[in-house]
Amino acid sequence: MNLFQQLTEKPWVTAHGTVVAFHAGRAFALPTAKIGLRVFLAVITVLFSLLVVAYAERMAAADWRPLPEPWLLWLNTAMLILSSVAFQWASVSARRGHGDGVRVDLLAAGGFAFAFLVGQLVVWQQLAALGYFAATNPAAAFFYLITALHALHLLGGLVVWGRTTAKVWRGVEVEQVRMSVELCAVYWHFLLVVWLVLFGLLLFT
């Protein structure tokens, strides 16, 4: 029964009537953790959307000076894409029960993610060396703020990644980490999309 049908039920009519098979007590046929992650992603979407709106609004002011675009950002983007791809592989390996595959893929995913973060730090240094400080230029302020928030979300993901990888390393059954790996993969793809939007915003403004 879809959500619309659920919301048009007339509970008073079925009073004294049937306990109906389809009231399994769940609105969606997904594991609880996956629903939880989706709700959380909705919250983060609002967060970054509002930042984009604020960015667009602030751009209209007279003192807006566009930032240079360090080529390193392209490399960082590639790192994040690779990280996401590795997580996807890990997720597929976990579904097929390939323990070794999961181990290698997880390491690769984490490695690329760390490379991305280090790359972002280097970009910060480059910009600062060119004299773009948060206080001197609104575009720089937004860049530092947005990349910092994005990196914080990635770091949060890396905590889960660390726990999952540690479990895999200790030789825990693949089936037991499968959910964590799949959740990480979805989260990583999401953060990749967020980054592509933010990067696009930087490139085209």
């Binding site: 919301l7 009073a15 109906v20 399994a24 969606f28 939880g36 967060l47 604020a54």
Partner: protein
């Protein structure tokens, strides 16, 4: 992806066995500390949230007394300087809205009632739920800390508008504002953790037979309010982070070029209006984050204590959802005087007035629930009825203020203060009192003292009107809000000051009368009469637990199976005037004996 099911159930089938809900793994506390302090049991977390929220709320109550003392008797109290007064109004507003009302409705009632009412053993992510409370407590402590830093707490007004919020001249511009912003950010992080639990528990952890449309309206109200909060708080979070950077790193997100004390500051180009938009994009849904749980709870109180099913259940659910949706497109009605484009004002006035439609549906349905009902004037019922009247009163002044032409002259007057105190101060607090009285036997296993409860109700109800009705009148006279003192003002008559004195005296009395409530709650918890099971004869699941107060895991060996909606009061041909949700149809005692159920259906057991 929804669960696919047969489109129709054949008419002749009376009982279809419900699909199994897998038993959840329940965390069992191993020590006193994990059972009562770092507890993962939603009921304990609920109590922790409630006590913390009420404690900090009492601080805000005392702040309101200090404000009233200054307004009623200006120049009489040497310890209230203008700066102090601004700190009082700021902290009073912020604490009441965020740290008391939001935390108590969602963290307190949400945690206690959601699992019990939907038939779950606990929240779906109990560990995250526990962390949610501790982050909330940290946010409260950071807020309290701002009284102990140089300069004291911020006095920027609860809206924290830049540029004044972080400029010298505003109290607490050094430290107070930073602690306030950090505290808000922490609150939002903590709330998000709790909110994920409330939403996912309602969606995925209901017991068998508990369809969405069999949930009590309390759960609906808290559920939709949580969704609003999850989507609205990020706006405040973004605003708080950006303002913190403006204050600490000297960025200019919100700060325009500005000259302060004859000095040209480093800021330039930022937009204070951007902050207002962010703030109210959170701030208006916040009104409904507080109001929707109140709507839901009051519906249940009315139905139970009037012994009548709620009128128009589906409309009530849809109205909650519609109000939730509309609350995101009305925010700029708080900004009519900010110099916005008139077409913008026209748009927001229109959406604001549209919200009155679903809200009016709710008020009509509450009234119609009482129509020809068997009304029991219990203490919870008195508070519930008082809520309808008060919410209607505050809602109607909201219609005035929603119109640009009426709002502009009334903007920043006491009329606005009176309006929002009626609609989101007094009204939700009345529901909170009603709810505490209603669920007190469930939580403590004892009854409160009825006489003290009645006394508390009448003083609070009459007192609140005695305080806030005159403020409407003062607003019409043009008395501005946020003023430390009026000084020489030709257009405001002398009598306005007399009225202010009167209001102050009443506010002190009503405030002290709350001690009766606290005494009643504390005394009854130990010495009150033992409550019988399900003392209000309610149908919803929280009253049907094997123990009262409900134990760890809520429902004993097996989870309850739900056969009907939670408002089965006064069903024809049934012996008692209520049928709990989990009583199988063949066990309902009818006036004609077990065979004569309504419709004459032959019924077989479910299991």
């Amino acid at each position: 992806m929804a669960i696919s099911t047969p489109a129709e159930v054949p008419a002749e089938v009376e009982i279809v066995p419900a699909a199994e809900v897998p038993e959840v793994e329940l965390y069992h506390a191993k020590s006193w500390v994990t059972k009562y302090v770092f507890s993962q049991d939603a009921k304990v977390i609920a109590i922790q949230y409630s006590f913390t929220a009420i404690a900090i709320g009492l601080v805000a109550l005392v702040l309101s007394w200090l404000m009233r003392l200054q307004l009623g008797f200006p120049d009489s109290f040497s310890f209230i300087e203008p700066g102090d007064y601004y700190q009082f109004i700021t902290m009073h507003g912020m604490i009441m809205v965020i740290y008391l009302l939001t935390a108590l409705f969602l963290g307190g009632f949400g945690n206690y009632l959601i699992p019990l009412m939907v038939g779950a053993r606990d929240m779906v992510f109990p560990y995250v739920n526990m962390v949610s409370y501790w982050v909330y407590l940290l946010a409260v402590l950071v807020l309290v800390a701002s009284w102990f830093v140089p300069g004291g707490p911020t006095g920027a007004g609860w809206t924290l508008y830049p540029p004044q919020a972080i400029l010298s001249g505003t109290p607490g511009a050094e430290w107070g504002i930073v602690l306030m912003l950090v505290s808000l950010a922490l609150f939002i992080v903590g709330f998000t953790m709790g909110g994920l639990n409330y939403v996912v528990t309602v969606l995925q952890a209901r017991t068998r037979g508990m369809s969405l449309m069999r949930m009590p309206l309390t759960v609906w109200g808290i559920f939709v309010a949580t969704i609003l909060a999850l989507l609205a708080f990020p706006a405040l979070f973004v605003g708080a982070v950006m303002m913190t950077l403006d204050r600490l790193l000297g960025t200019s997100f919100f700060m325009p070029a500005i000259v302060a004390l004859g000095e040209h500051l480093e800021y330039g180009g930022g937009s204070p209006l951007l902050f207002q938009h962010l703030f109210w994009f959170f701030g208006h849904p916040e009104v409904y984050i507080v109001a929707l749980p109140a709507f839901g709870i009051v519906s249940d109180l009315l139905s139970v204590h009037a012994r009548r099913h709620i009128f128009g259940y589906r409309m009530m659910v849809w109205a909650i959802v519609a109000i939730g949706g509309l609350s995101f497109v009305v925010w700029a009605h708080h900004m009519y005087v900010s110099g916005m484009n008139p077409w913008f004002g026209f748009f927001f006035a229109t959406t604001t007035l549209i919200i009155a439609v679903p809200t009016a549906i709710k008020v009509y349905n509450w009234t119609l629930t009482l129509w020809k009902a068997n009304i029991q004037f219990t203490v919870p019922m008195l508070f519930a009825i008082a809520f309808i009247v008060t919410f209607l009163n505050g809602g109607i002044t909201g219609l005035f203020l929603g119109n640009v032409v009426v709002d502009v002259p009334l903007s920043d007057t006491m009329f606005v203060v009176a309006h929002f105190h009626m609609v989101m101060g007094v009204a939700p607090i009345l529901v909170i009192f009603g709810a505490i009285y209603h669920w007190y036997p469930l939580i403590t296993g004892r009854m409160f003292n009825e006489a003290l409860g009645q006394f508390h109700f009448w003083v609070t109800f009459v007192g609140a009107y005695t305080i806030f009705l005159p403020l409407h009148y003062l607003g019409f006279l043009g008395v501005p809000r946020r003023y430390f003192e009026m000084g020489e003002t030709s257009f405001i008559p002398e009598s306005a000051q007399t009225l202010n004195e009167f209001v102050t005296v009443v506010a002190l009395i009503v405030g002290f009368a709350q001690l009766v409530f606290f005494f009643n709650m504390a005394w009854s918890a130990f010495k009150g009469k033992k409550a019988e099971r399900n003392p209000w004869k309610a149908c919803s699941l929280e009253w049907q637990t094997p123990e009262m107060p409900p134990g760890h895991g809520n429902f004993g060996e097996t989870l309850p199976l739900v056969y009907r909606w939670p408002y089965e009061f006064g069903a024809p041909d049934v012996e008692e005037d209520f049928v709990p949700q989990n009583v199988p149809p063949d066990q309902v005692i009818t006036k004609k004996g077990p065979e004569g159920l309504p419709g004459g259906a032959a019924v077989q057991p479910a299991e």
